[in-house]
Structures are given as structure tokens and as C-alpha cells.
Symmetry: C2
Subunit: 321 residues, 2 copies
Amino acid sequence: MREWELLEHIRQSSAGQPVAFPQVVIPPGDDCAVVRVGRESLLLKVDQVIEGRHVPAVASWRGGPFAAGLSRGAFLDLVARKAVARVLSDIAAMAGTPVAGLASAAVPPAFPGDAARELAEALHRWGARWHCPIVGGDVATFAATHPGPLSLSVSVLGTPHPARGAVLRSGARPGDAVYVTGMLGVSLAPDGLGRHVTFEPRLAEARWLADMLGANLHAMLDVSDGLGIDAARLAATSGVRLELDERHIPLAPGATIANALRDGEDYELLFAASGAVPSVCPATGCPVTRLGNVRDGPPGVVLRAADGSTRDVSREGWEHA
Amino acid sequence: MREWELLEHIRQSSAGQPVAFPQVVIPPGDDCAVVRVGRESLLLKVDQVIEGRHVPAVASWRGGPFAAGLSRGAFLDLVARKAVARVLSDIAAMAGTPVAGLASAAVPPAFPGDAARELAEALHRWGARWHCPIVGGDVATFAATHPGPLSLSVSVLGTPHPARGAVLRSGARPGDAVYVTGMLGVSLAPDGLGRHVTFEPRLAEARWLADMLGANLHAMLDVSDGLGIDAARLAATSGVRLELDERHIPLAPGATIANALRDGEDYELLFAASGAVPSVCPATGCPVTRLGNVRDGPPGVVLRAADGSTRDVSREGWEHA
């Protein structure tokens, strides 16, 4: 059973419910939901990090070993970092600003008390680093008779860009160009760590794009499952065709085009915009690369190779198991 | 290691961080955090429900048996119900109104796809029932090499009472009377289900109390760990002494005073107020019982028996394992 399939269940259940809640502006299906309270629009998002699934498993919480020869504290710091960063990447994908976060942890029966303290402190540290104070938490221990691995869930409340508003996936138009921040591919290192754990959510870059481009920033999402499948999501939601140029895909060191299309967990921003877009975010030095164009046509993503041949890459990506 | 101890880690970590976030009005430690966005005050809370810990464990997700001879769908409905209700009980404890919720689930490797759909639908159904649409979700499957039991985390965004504002734990004053909604004790039935799963979060009662009492509603929390320990939390936070009368504790059918003090999971509202308080909420028929009084003195809770003797009950309650 694939995570995507399950998410679709939740989305469809939600889409199927009668529209009885006027506070829901954007229902599940985009990077964040948008709700309204009084005059304020608010972003909401939850995501998880589970030992053995999203981060390497630990042989024993009492003695390790931990991935890459890290100390327990250093390992927990990375787990907390990824849990906070994943959900903030979705706030960035809406060009939003975090307000506050909530964290819950389910911990193995043998999880030491001082490890729980290290984990809580790490969650607070990473929340503070990205201006998203963790204002609530819950920790529960799995029953000894029904144990499980370390499991974190982080929820975040954010605000959309004050001028541009929330940038959805659905606004790409024929004639736009398609861009991506940073570099793609090989986010998972042989030791189980790597960029999928240590990435920086593109909050500053998203803010800069919305400041600079305003209404010309038409659609955006974060590349979490691979360029192929995520570009196809933007195409499908916007009802457009994306033509990407293989020669322009910015590859991380050691990555191939196949890695960029399929590996996932890059947490870079993919966006469609009209008008001029600089090639570097001045505040962070992050590169911004033009990958291709938005066309009329049946929704999908085609990749044009150096020899001019094209192929459909809209199903290339990492389906979460 | 006790859940309470872990929660204190999170709270202390948070209290220890520099006050660099002006959006945080009430930090972790009350039933909900309060944050500010523009002109709006917002409540935030997360809680979990874990198979084998908060609900009975299932022998096999493919075949059951499920608690009390229920079908899989009926069992999942109760699990989802408790997960949503627990967190809404904390919104009620602030006299708040839910705006929207987020749900994440980590499911066992053998969890069937149609069970995931049933679970998602049940979360939406209970959210809708309590006017808290679930606007985002994530489902992840535990790795087959690192399995775990069904684990739900639900976060909720709410608004405080529009006139009274958020009702904290800290406002009880000498001279107040102490009240509780509903009945206490024996929320756990022999089949593992019972009122701890099927309780109704006291949203309507809390709203009515705040409407009616306004500024005379001084302090409130929900009784989740037992009357003894939860009353002691209200006493400690307010810096007051509570004197409760054993003869006035409203006992659920079959419950003893010891059950009321220690069992926990009643999810009733305990509050301190001045002025007249009716004995029934007219909208729901829920009883409201005066239990005792708020006094000056060292913070704590004493129980006065029928023979006039008193004893300290401030440590009687259920410490989550």
C-alpha cells in the first residue's frame, strides 16, 4: 500500500464532504490547507518522520549504533531537524511564513528519559531556528506489548505572503516559464543521512520570489517525491503541459537526470512564473534555474533531451512505501 | 518513564528558550497554547491515540478480533473518535471553538488499504460532527523491518471565546467555588472501551459557561488524569488551595471516590468561578456540580470526608505510562 494512495483517500474523503465549513478556503490537496479566522488567512500542514522509514533505524536506543557513527544526541538532532523542516518546506511552497508549530512523539518502550529531553530540545531548537516556535507537544510511549519505532508528527500554523497571498499549485498558465531552486537528485547518502535530512526549507527564497514577482508568481510546490511526479502534480492541478529541457536540470554533485526525476526528497521549490526571474536569490545565494515552459495541451510533463527527442516523465518519482 | 515527565521536558525546554517570539501569548503548559496573528488570538493543541496504549490493541489488522466484538470499521470509528475528541476537550477547557484540524497516522505494515480509507473517513466524520473540519492529513506505513501499532496524532486550531477570551488554569482566586461538569470515575470498561473512548468533548458546556459567567469564570481545565492530580494542577498554577467535599463528587455509575480521584480520562471540565452557576447546562442537559471552594494557603488539594476529616489528594491520579 502506497502512501500516495492513502493520502488520496484522505483527500477524497474531504472533497466528498458537504461544503459546510466556510472557514475552509483551500481544502486538502495543495501543499497546505488555507483556513480563515476573522480577517486572517492561515496555512495549516502536518507531516511525519518515522524511524526506519524516513530516517535510518537505530539498533538500540540505549546503546546505538546510530547512523554515520553519530552520538545519540547528534542523531536525534537530525531527526528533529527533518521533522520540522519537512513541514516548513510545505509552508515555503505556499510562499508562507511560519507562526508556530506543534510536535508529538511516540517513542519505543526502551527510549531513555534523557533521550526524550534531547529530542524535545532539538525540536525547540530547530523550530526557533526557522522562526516557528514549538508551542505544544505530546510524548507517549508505545506499550511494551505493542512496541514501535520513534515516530514524530509535526504540525505548523503559518500565514500566506502578505501581498501575494497563498501560492497554489493550480495557477500555471501557457506561456509561463518553469523554474526550480537549488539542485536535484541524490538526497540520500550511503549512510542513510544526506540532504534529505539536512536540507534548508526554502522559506527565504519563497518569500523573495513572492516579494519580487507578486502576481507573476503563478504556481508553486516543493519537490518532495521527485521532479517527474511533482511537476506532473503542478501540471495536472493547473491543467497545463510542462516541457522541461534535460540540459537545464540542475544536478546535485554525483546526480544523474534519472536521480533528479525519481529520487525525491530534494525539498526544492518548483514554480511557474511570467516575467523576468533572477538566477540567484540575493539573500541566500540559492540558484534559481529555468527548466522549461508551460504549454497548452493535455496535462503532463515531457522531457526534451539534448538530441531533441522527448519523453513523458510524469510518472517518474518516488512513491512513498 | 512517565508521559508527564516527558511533557515537562518539552515545557521546560520551551520555558527556557529566549522570549524571541512575540506571537506566542500563552506558551506550552496550559490546555492549549495561545498565539496571535494580526488581530486574532488562536488556540493550538496536539494529542495522540496509540493502539495498545490509549485504545485496545488489535491481534491482526487483517482479521481482528477487535475490542468488544466490533467490526473493523466500527472499531476504527471509535479510535478516530477518541483521537479527535481528546484534542477538542482541550479546546473546550479554554472555552474555545474549533476552526480546523490536522491528522497524521502511522499504520502497521499489514494495515489494509480499505482500513486506511475507513480511518480517514472516520476522522473526517468526527471532525465534522464537532465543527472541526480535518483540512490536512498524512499517512505513513511503518517499515516491515521496524513495525509499530496504529498511531494517530491530531492537531487542532481554535479560537478563544469571543468575549471572555481564553480561560486559563491560572485564574482561580480565594472565595471562588469549584465545579465539575458530568460524572467522574470508571471511564474504562472491562472490554477496553467505555467512556474514555465515547465521551463528548464539553465544547457546548464551555461555551455556555463563558457566555453566562464572562469574567466570573476564573480558571478551567479538563479532567484527563484524575480529579486529584488535575485539581492540583489548577491549584498550583493559580497559587491557591482547593477544598473539595467528598459528598459532592458526582460519581459515574459504579464508581467510587477513589475511581473519581484516580482513574482519569473523564474529559470533564473542572472550573473555578465566582457568582451563581446553574446546576444544568440547558442546551445539553449536562449536570454541573459544586465540589468545593478555593482558599488561601499553600497550593494543593484537600478532600473533606463525611466525618469532617481531611486528606491531601493532590497526587492522586493516573500518571500516563
